[in-house]
Amino acid sequence: MASSSHGHKHSNGLYTFSSRPRPVDSSSKCREPSSERTQYNYGNIMYDRRVVRGNTHAQHILPTTAQPDPAETQKQMIKKRAAARKQAWKQWRLRTPEALQGRKHIDVQTELYLEELSDHIVSTHAECQTDAFLDKPSTPLFIPAKSGKDVGTQIEEGELFDFDREVQPVLEVLVGRTVEQALLEVMEEEELACLKAQQRAFEELRHNELAEVERLQEQERRHSEEKERRVAQQKEVLKKERETAEKIAARAYTQQYLADLIPAVFTSLRNHGYFYDPVEKDIEMNFFPWLMAEVNNTLEKRYIAREMLDAIICDVTEKRLEEFKELDTQSARDWQV
């Protein structure tokens, strides 16, 4: 095995093993032929019967090559077979010749130091237990030996320190802090009052300036309005002047136009016959129609007379005609008869 991996190089050439580490083969019966042993059957070393486990003191000495057989039921059979085989083998094995008479073969240890071999390991139990803790006894009071003299003392009132004198710095600090705080507050108030005064001054100034600005604005507005009004007034005046001029011109023209109006009127009236002679008119109006009417009457009378005459003549002629016709017919009848 070692030779087969001799000179085997690691795949990436980093390291070379003279004997590559490999896991132990599991020596199972169903072993593949050696050509297929590239894939090693890894067996779990924990379950390998070849690894000695547990207490080594109670092991069999020089165990014979027993066939590893996982099946529990066949163990005894195998054992028996093994025993039988052992027996058979024992017979054919080359043995040491039998011991001579009076002698016995015994096994002897030949090492330097003799060792007692026995199955039974002598063991003894030994126990040990500490004692329970005892309470430590209290240390005795250390009273040093008395040495020196006894002396007594007493502090009277007012001897150690004077209260009034000692309290002064404390009082100073207290009062000082209080006064300081009060001063701070007063200063704050003053500052606030100052600010307020400043604000007031600003307000007054602002009002002032605002009033001034507004006044000026008003002034401007008034002035501009005044100007507007003046301009408008001026325009009015101009317009009036123009109108007056036009009126004068119109008046002159009409005067001139109307100057010879009256004669023209009279002329036209006369032409239209509005001025007439009353007598002439009267004659025309009254006399002539009457005359004409009278003439008409007379003429009518004549016409009527003529018509009557015509009628009479017509009647007579008709009558004569009829008579002549009767005569005619009579004569004709007469002639027929």
Binding site: N208, E212, R215
Partner: protein
């Protein structure tokens, strides 16, 4: 140990512990913790820690407590918190404002006063005034209610009025329209005749703010407020006079105002004020300035100009005053008086 105050822990644990005590069901315990907190809050360091620790939200519940003394103490605490700018910002950013404004209708007067004090401090900040603008109608309503109460209400009623008026004037500084819309002019006009000078002063100050926009000026002219103001020009208190002069100055800018002021014969009064106050008193500087401006405005009307031309020497004397503002104002006045179209 003071029995009205809870014990205070040492160092950084003082404020959180006291705030933890505020959750206790007993009202007396809460009152004691609040009293201790009020004492502690005067220190700016602790205030900063309180504000950044976010403890103010717990006060929200306390504001709705049943016990009135607890409520008033909480308002006092808030008043102390708003004394510093960090506290103001914190109160503005938290949602404590609606609860505070609800407390204005509270039954106990001390909680009302403390709530008003806190709101007043807030209103001094422009951002605070901005946030309080929506409260202005409610404040005007409260003023009206105060009006209906008895005249001799005592100091409490006066203080409430003073606080209300000063809050309104701060808010109107930012934007006067809400106050004008809730009929501020007539209401404040009534307040001008109250007994206590503080009320008059604050009312006149509010009127001054209100008369800055044109609408306000017109309203002041139309109302019967001007005669009262002219009367106030001769009040004992310097501040009242100053504020009244300020209102007159604002009103005299519009033409109607000028005419009405001249009708009411305001010019001699103002001249009188000027001549009396030429000395260098800080408080009266504003009075002098306002009177000068009012006179300048009145001098733009022809009647006023005629009157003031006669008083030119007095104005010329004012130009030699020591304060530069007064000098400038006097010069402007002289210029306007001697202007010809």
């Amino acid at each position: 140990m003071d029995s009205t105050r809870a014990p205070v822990a040492f160092g950084r644990w003082d404020v959180p512990l006291l705030f933890g005590r505020l959750q206790q069901p007993e009202a007396a315990e809460r009152l004691r913790s609040l009293a201790s907190l009020c004492d502690l809050m005067r220190d700016p360091e602790r205030l900063y820690r309180t504000v950044t620790g976010g403890f103010l939200e717990q006060l929200q519940d306390l504001l709705k407590d049943e016990d009135p003394s607890v409520r008033s103490k909480t308002c006092e605490l808030l008043h102390l918190v708003t004394a510093h700018s960090i506290g103001r910002q914190a109160v503005l950013s938290s949602s404590l404002l609606p609860s505070l404004s609800q407390l204005l209708d509270d039954s106990s007067s001390s909680s009302r006063i403390n709530a008003l004090r806190a709101l007043n401090c807030l209103a001094l900040l422009p951002a605070g005034a901005d946030a309080l603008l929506c409260l202005v109608p409610k404040l005007m309503l409260k003023l009206q209610q105060q009006d209906g109460e008895d005249e001799d209400d005592g100091d409490d009623g006066d203080e409430e009025e003073v606080l209300l008026l000063s809050t309104i004037s701060c808010c109107s500084r930012l934007d006067a329209l809400p106050a004008l819309a809730s009929d501020g002019v007539s209401l404040l006009g009534r307040k001008l005749t109250r007994r206590s000078p503080e009320v008059r002063r604050e009312a006149a100050a509010s009127l001054m703010e209100l008369s800055i926009p044109v609408e306000g000026k017109r309203q002041v002219c139309e109302g019967a407020v001007l005669p009262v103001l002219v009367g106030l020009l001769q009040d004992e208190d310097v501040d009242v006079r100053t504020n009244a002069a300020g209102v007159v100055m604002n009103v005299a800018i519009i033409t109607a105002g000028k005419l009405r002021c001249l009708d009411l014969d305001v010019v001699p009064v103002l001249l009188d004020l000027l001549s009396k106050r030429l000395e260098e008193d800080e408080r009266s500087k504003a009075l002098v300035l306002y009177s000068l401006r009012a006179l300048t405005a009145l001098a733009e009307a022809p009647d006023g100009r005629r009157l003031l031309l006669q008083q030119l020497p007095l104005l010329a004397r004012t130009t030699e005053a020591r304060h530069p503002d007064i000098r400038r104002a006097a010069q402007t006045a002289v210029r306007v008086v001697t202007w010809t179209p």
